[in-house]
């Protein structure tokens, strides 16, 4: 078909001048619009066009405001006004008439009216309010076409505040017998959801109804809403994954009506939307949701074999999905092959997408980049800049210490020819990131010079900032630092001697700062010479006043010696009368300090690192005094705003489920004496806001001396993490393996085969680009995780100060513990007197727990610190009060050089006790290993299939370094299920009261006579259910989540399956339980 179109359209230019052609025959050649269009095409200059349009607009204006103009004429006028606007001329006088036309016209005129409105106005235009009544009227019209028009305009643009006015009417349309109306209504609601999600929050059940609509078109429309909601909160919709998979299966299997086919591919739009939703649901998934998708993804890959754009579109989406969800090796293999087909395709669009897909997956699968290295090299020289740009993006992802110079060079080459500002800004940022990651003296400075001169004043301001920071903080070796700075000074001096007025302002600022700080390093360079260079820069007329103040600052640092002072005096005289106040101040500073060398050396000490106390600890005394005097503790702005918002209006939104409901942190400090042991519980962790709110009920803060309010408390964690990130533990594995890999990949490139010259060049390039990218080094490829083999390494920032901070914090911790905590402390102290704290054990250890999906309560109820050998604890498993209860295996959660963390859970009557055991694994030869056992009680607030407990242990080694270890532990809901003993009568009564139910057929475990009993016994054993009674082919079973959260189950053997009916007063509990029943039977 497209050929036909193309042929017809090619003949167009000649058509324009001829009226007798068939194309124009059906046009209303006599109409005024026709005349206008023809008139315009005959014109030769832009000026003439403008004149003609102005005339036209004047005539339209006159006619629309005339009372004698009929609606029919008005329609014609509107079309002409639209045309003028499209040409870029304003016709705002017609807007109000467009609204009038939509209001008063008959269906056909209304249509044009609505069209004009939707083209003229956007959703914030004030005239749009006048349209609300019209829309309301049309939504209630009996004429379907009018309803359609109203829904269309509503989805195009509608004032946000007026949504409640029409929402009931749009909602009503979801029940309309015509599917076209239902579909449009769903899309209108989607639009509402996008622009004002809280307005449609209460109708989520209606969305679900639309999803279940019998018309596939309506269902497809509802997926837009679901995709959006799932993107915002994937964990809330995991239960829908199975349904989406089922839909996709049907679509792929060709179960939809032929109408939905596109070039004989079944509903490709729907397929792609479903694949997108699945990848959102399976992202960061712990396998369970992803598992159900594998089969259908495999089928999609298999089915999409036709060589047409549309199948490639589906394949591409499929591949993206496979790499996003929890990985499965054979699917990954197929997806990788598919990416290969894209990359190797002769079609440029597919090649581009192949590169994009490679970029996306290369972090997970670096082998893939190696496989396609020759194609990548070719793309790097592609005439289409878009392809080139995408290739660079790919290379950026595979940069390592060995290929960084080549890759950066390629990127800089591109930057020099790129004209697009957005690309430049983005790429400059990436080059700077790479350069900073792998700095080596002159290369680093030279690269950054190019970055600054090419990036100019467009680049992100943090690039020069972090460059200066890097330069001033230095690296590991003083000698190297000096060399680097010296090289910078050298290169800047020569730049300034050249044509400095061509350099961007940002670069000049960097130059002047560096010269001010470090030009003394170059002994043969006279400060006066530098001063003169800078002074010359001041006189250049392009220099901005911001740059000038940087220059003056630099001069202030440099004005040494007689010659220097005289230059300084001259400059300061010029600028001390400047109109710019900042410049004037700088000039005065320069003048004063240049005459007073003693003061200058005090104010601007040379080569002394600037100490910034960002914690503002010097204010602590002041703050605590103020607090003691009754001042309110400090609240950060966002919290103030939040509280203000809460105070102002009632929150109509239901409470979010994703709030981290509670966390606890315990810290054991045995640095000085056992009395320092403290446990702080309650709400803490990331959100100290919560801790304050919670504090009003549980923590008594009055009269307790607080150091810097909550900030001090917050800082407790921060320095720990920061220090952990900064101190790089030298890895003994690094160098040999790295070089080994490098050799490997060198040997991989096919050298011995004789190849033509350019081919060889390419291969050389390939070997330099893909060096260090061997199949074994998948982990060490990227970014920061890679142990970089340079001499330069960032220095840990003043370790002593962070140590002080944590000391202070631990003091404040002790003093701020509440009465509740003190109770716990007493307990602890009792036990800890028995304990023999290992001398090598961490001197401070804090542990925090959070739950991932927030539907659980974690409470720290009891805590033990035991000094015993690890074997004892392992054998014993659990502390004394818990022994005798059934408990799980002890699972090791995480470990590092110095500690092992393991956990086991004990099923207590009313809650699940989680016992975590931290033991010191560092010093094996010491028999008295330190072991800390902490116990948490978990209860379920809202049931879900699994609960994940995540947390962090942070501790401090005696030498002063902080470490932290993250862990997570997943528990099935079944750990929280307890049998419920009831009689058959009680069961019958309860059954009628419960509202939440679910039904499903499960498979029986055997076919025999006793299959029901056998099946129920399995469930009883695995899930701890209580079998109330078995009568013939029916059985009743009961269990509970808590004392007050029962769940009843009714089973009946029917046609070889077990029909199960679950009822509970707790929402979601039946659904979660049926899932576990299913699994238990499957596993059996």
């Amino acid at each position: 078909m497209s050929d036909v179109v193309e042929k017809t359209l090619t003949a167009l230019p000649s058509l324009l001048s001829l009226d007798s052609q068939p194309g124009s025959a059906k046009l209303s050649s006599t109409s005024k619009l026709g005349n206008l269009i023809r008139g315009i095409t005959e014109l030769t200059s832009k000026h003439e066009e403008e004149k003609l349009i102005q005339q036209e607009l004047a005539s339209i204006k006159e006619q629309v405001s005339s009372p004698n103009t009929s609606m029919r004429q008005m329609k014609e006028l509107m079309v002409r006004a639209i045309y003028c606007e499209m040409l870029g001329y304003e016709a705002s006088f017609s807007y109000i008439h467009a609204i009038k036309l939509a209001q008063q016209g008959t269906a056909l005129e209304k249509r044009v009216g609505y069209l004009a409105v939707s083209l003229f106005l956007n959703e914030s235009h004030e005239l749009l309010l006048l349209l609300v009544n019209t829309v309301l009227k049309d939504l209630q019209s009996t004429n379907l076409i009018e309803v359609c028009m109203a829904l269309t305009v509503v989805s195009q643009m509608f004032p946000k505040d007026m949504i409640p006015a029409i929402l009931p009417l749009v909602e009503e349309k979801l029940n309309h017998p015509k599917e076209i109306i239902r579909r449009k209504a769903v899309l209108a609601l989607y639009k509402f959801y996008l622009i004002a999600p809280n307005q449609v929050q209460h109708i989520h059940n209606k969305f679900r109804k639309a999803l279940c609509d019998k018309d596939p078109g309506v269902m497809t429309a509802s997926l837009h809403i679901y995709a959006q909601m799932i993107q915002e909160k994937p964990e809330g919709y995991k239960d829908l994954a199975a349904s989406f998979v089922a839909i996709l299966k049907q679509v792929v299997g060709g179960k939809l009506p032929m109408d939905f086919n596109y070039h004989s591919v079944p509903a490709p739009w729907l397929q792609i939307q479903l694949l997108r939703i699945l990848s959102l649901l399976g992202k960061n998934d712990q396998r369970y949701t992803s598992e159900i998708m594998y089969e259908v993804l495999d089928e999609s890959l298999r089915r999409a074999e036709m060589n047409h754009n549309i199948t490639y579109a589906i394949l591409y989406e499929c591949v993206k999905c496979i790499y996003t969800i929890h990985p499965k090796s054979d699917l990954l293999e197929k997806a990788a092959k598919c990416i290969g087909n894209f990359v190797l395709s002769p079609k440029i669009n597919l090649k581009y997408l192949g590169l994009k897909a490679l970029t996306y997956v290369v972090q997970q699968d670096p082998k893939l980049a190696l496989q396609h290295q020759m194609t990548i090299i070719e793309c790097l020289d592609h005439p289409d800049l878009i392809i080139k740009r995408e290739t660079l993006e790919l290379l950026f992802r595979i940069t390592n210490a060995q290929n960084v110079t080549v890759i950066v060079e390629k990127m800089l080459d591109f930057l020099r020819i790129s004209e697009d500002d957005y690309t430049t800004i983005d790429l400059v940022g990436k080059v700077a990131e790479l350069a900073e990651k792998y700095p080596s003296e002159c290369w680093f400075i030279e690269t950054m010079n190019t970055v600054f001169s090419v990036g100019g004043d467009m680049m992100q301001p943090d690039i020069p900032n972090s460059f200066l920071k890097l330069l001033s903080e230095g690296f590991d070796s003083v000698e190297e630092d000096k060399k680097l700075r010296l090289f910078a000074v050298d290169s800047y001096v020569s730049l300034l001697q050249g044509e400095p007025d061509k350099l961007p302002q940002r670069f000049l600022q960097v130059i002047s700062w560096v010269l001010g700080e470090y030009s003394y390093l170059k002994e043969e360079l006279q400060p006066a010479a530098v001063l003169r260079l800078l002074a010359k820069l001041l006189d250049t007329k392009n220099t901005s006043s911001e740059t000038k103040s940087w220059i003056l600052m630099a001069m202030t640092k440099l004005c040494d010696g007689e010659a220097g002072v005289s230059v300084a005096q001259e400059v300061s005289e010029t600028y001390s009368s400047s109109l710019d106040t900042v410049l004037r101040q700088r000039a005065h500073e320069l003048q004063y300090l240049s005459q007073n060398p003693e003061l200058r050396s005090k104010v601007l000490p040379r080569d002394a690192g600037l100490e910034v106390d960002s914690s503002l600890s010097f204010l602590d005394g002041f703050v605590s005094e103020a607090l003691a005097a009754g001042a309110a503790p400090y609240k950060p702005p966002h919290q103030r705003q939040e509280e203000l918002a809460q105070a102002k209006a009632l929150s109509l939104e239901p409470y979010g489920l994703s709030l981290p409901i509670s966390m606890s942190s315990c810290s054991i400090a045995d640095r000085q004496s056992p009395t320092l042991l403290s446990i702080s519980s309650g709400l803490s962790g990331d959100s100290t806001d919560l801790s304050l709110k919670g504090g009003s009920t549980t923590l008594k803060l009055d009269g307790v001396k607080r150091v810097w309010g909550k900030e001090g408390y917050l800082a407790q964690r921060e320095p720990l993490e920061e220090a952990a990130a900064q101190v790089e533990v030298p890895s003994p594995l690094r160098s040999p393996s790295q070089t080994g890999e490098a050799d490997n990949s060198h040997s991989q490139t096919p050298i011995p085969i004789p190849t033509p010259e350019p081919e060889q060049e390419k291969q050389q390039l390939a070997s330099s680009l893909f060096v260090g990218l061997s199949s074994h080094s998948s982990v060490s490829l990227m970014g920061k995780s890679e142990p970089t083999p340079q001499r330069f390494r960032r220095k840990a920032k003043s370790p002593s100060s962070s140590l002080d901070a944590s000391e202070r914090i631990s003091n404040s911790l002790v003093s701020s513990t509440s009465t509740v905590d003190n109770l716990l402390c007493d307990n602890l102290l009792d036990t800890s007197e028995l304990a023999v704290p290992s001398p090598s054990l961490t001197s401070q250890l804090s542990q925090s727990l959070t739950t991932a999906n927030g539907s659980f309560d974690v409470q720290l109820t009891e805590s033990d610190v035991k000094g015993s050998s690890p074997t004892l604890v392992r054998d014993n498993g659990v502390a004394v009060p818990l022994s005798g209860l059934s408990h799980s295996e002890i699972t090791p959660l995480c470990s590092d050089q110095s500690l092992d963390l393991s956990v086991c859970h004990v099923q207590k009557e009313e809650y699940l006790a989680l016992v975590s055991c931290v033991c010191d694994s560092a010093v094996q030869e010491l028999r008295s290993l330190g072991v800390a056992v902490c116990q948490y009680s978990l209860t379920v607030k809202r049931p879900s299939v699994h609960v994940e407990v995540v947390g962090m242990v942070s501790y401090q080694l005696p030498v002063g370094t902080h470490q932290s270890v993250q862990f997570s532990h997943k528990l099935p809901l079944t750990s929280f299920i307890r049998p419920l003993t009831v009689s058959t009568e009680e069961y019958g009564k309860m059954w009628l009261d419960f509202t939440n139910d679910t039904k499903q057929n499960l498979s029986l475990i055997s076919d025999g006579q006793e299959s029901l009993t056998a099946t129920l016994n399995v469930l009883k054993k695995k899930l701890q259910l209580h079998v109330v009674e078995i009568i013939g082919v029916e059985g009743i079973v009961a269990c509970r989540l808590h004392q007050d959260q029962p769940c009843l189950m009714h089973c009946r053997v029917h046609a070889g399956t077990l029909a199960v009916w679950l009822r509970s007063p707790v929402p979601d509990l039946p659904d979660c339980l049926i899932y576990h029943c299913q699994r238990a039977l499957q596993e059996h």
Binding site: E6, L9, L15, A107, L108, N143, K184, A221, A313
Partner: protein
Amino acid sequence: MMHFMLLFSRQGKLRLQKWYTATAERDKKKMVRELMQIVLARKPKMCSFLEWRDLKIVYKRYASLYFCCAIEEQDNELITLEVIHRFVELLDKYFGSVCELDIIFNFEKAYFILDEFLMGGEIQDTSKKSVLKAIEQADLLQEEDESPRSVLEEMGLA
């Protein structure tokens, strides 16, 4: 979600523009100008996809007309090409082997078809048959609507 769709000629004349996100008039003009410049400068064998600002641009040329869509990061480029193609198919079916002139002189009809095909930046109906049916029904209504009215008018005049 699609942010906007533009139709423009090889000579850089805008033929159709549909915006699905609220954009100020001034920005629209600037974006249209900028995009036309970029797209018109591209050679025939080049890639149909562009990264532009924070959007992805998908364009395709049919004879003298360029169809150009702006989509978001997570959207699929290839399917957007098919959106364009289906729109061309719809125009072709409606006008009967469409040409640029049809779109110039009957641009409001082209808008109606587009509105029936895409809604709020998402595809609404992928079936050629049902889109055209909806359009024809509306057109029919218009004619039925017109004839009695003109009779009445005549009577009023008489």
